[in-house]
Amino acid sequence: MKKIFAEFLKGIIKENPTFVLVLGLCPTLAVSVTVSNGIGMGIAATFVVVGSNIIISLIKGFIPDRIRIPCFIVVIATFVTIVEMTMKTYSPLLYRALGIYVPLIVVNCIVLGRAEAYAQKNSVLNSLFDGLGMGIGFTLALILISAIREILGSGKFLGHLLFKGFEPIFLFGMPPGALLVIGLLLGLFNLLKKERV
């Protein structure tokens, strides 16, 4: 039980996919314009990584080693298609806002990375919690980045106006702002890590 809890926690801080492993940045940067987009993307990616982790750890005995990557990709693409169709039906607004980045979860390095590095070697339960931890870590990172961008870029949080008379810095809502925010955050985390050691 304790081990499972550790598997769950490591994805959130110690091996955070975005800030420590620096994986899966394309969707992180592209959709983090508003917090609601960030949360939507985070939940979609969490579902895919948990689902593919479970299936891959279940079928790991049947997959020949040499063609494992195509096999993983088919499993992942299936879950992405499920997410895509569900999102299209139940929240078309979010689907339109995320655009091509929904099908692109397939090539998100986090998902394939967890399949390759973890799920194909570990039991189903462990893989489930590993996927859940990684997904939540990814979601939290997305929320952090998109909160910074939304507050600075439009003065809002989750669509609610925060300050009166605040002149928004439009740059943060645009592509350069995303790169700047993630660069400075990575630097900040490096600094904090150095001080702790």
């Binding site: 620096v22 994986l23 940045l25 394309c26 969707p27 940067l29 592209a30 990557i69 195509p70 990709i73 088919v74 693409a77 299936t78 992405v80 298609t81 895509e84 169709m85 091509i100 099908p103 692109l104 397939v106 090539v107 998100n108 390095c109 394939l112 740059l171 645009m174 592509p175 350069p176 702002g177 995303a178 790169l179 700047l180 993630i182 660069g183 400075l184 990575l186 630097g187 900040l188 490096n190 600094l191 150095k194």
Partner: protein
């Protein structure tokens, strides 16, 4: 098919919606392989080649397989499988035909399978040049041309980035900002420069 449309696609794919600096596709390889110019160029060549040919293949698959059989909702699975197979095939062919070329970009080829830019362009082509499952006039040619242009935009960004990072070797950089953080800040400044192009109107 008219020339002004082609120019619009070119400007849009290379500058305004640059695949790396504005759409953020293929960012992992962009940050990881842009430390020196030579490998950066090899990677760009490989990516351009794969994007162009996968645009051709995915167009035919979408037009003649997915649309007639009403399977368009399976496009993600089909496209990624085709791209993965194609990359594997190219790798095998290059290894057989030209060992020198294989050494130049052989190690980068497997990475391209999970390069978002390739799948991204395939999905974009389908979104832009098919209306309700019907190809627009000149759709095939536009798709291929957009593939080439996106590859060119990728090469351009890689070339600038690796040129800047090579010179940065001699600069003093605070410890916490070395490697990734600095690369992102540079990319942010480059992206700001490219944003200037969005003033173009057609």
């Amino acid at each position: 098919m008219n020339p002004s449309q082609l120019i619009a696609i070119f400007i849009s794919a290379v500058f305004i919606h640059n695949v790396i600096l504005s759409r953020f596709l293929g960012l992992c390889s962009f940050i990881a392989i842009s430390k020196e110019t030579r490998p950066a160029l090899a990677m760009s060549g490989a990516v351009t080649f794969v994007i162009t040919f996968s645009s051709i293949i995915t167009w035919f698959i979408y037009r003649y397989l997915l649309v007639p059989f009403n399977l368009t909702y399976l496009r993600t699975i089909f496209f990624i499988l085709v791209i993965a197979t194609f990359v594997q095939l190219v790798e095998m062919v290059i290894r057989k035909i030209s060992p020198a070329l294989y050494r130049a970009f052989g190690i980068y080829l497997p990475l391209i399978t999970v390069n978002c830019a390739v799948l991204g362009v395939a999905v974009l082509n389908v979104d832009m040049f098919f209306v309700n499952g019907k190809p627009v006039a000149g759709s095939f040619f536009y798709s291929v041309f957009q593939g080439v242009c996106v590859g060119f935009g990728y090469t351009l960004a890689m070339l600038f980035m690796s040129g800047i990072r090579e010179r940065l070797d001699f600069a003093y950089v605070p410890k916490a900002m070395r490697e990734f953080p600095l690369a992102f800040v540079i990319a942010a400044i480059m992206s700001m420069g490219f944003m200037g192009f969005s003033g173009f109107r057609f």
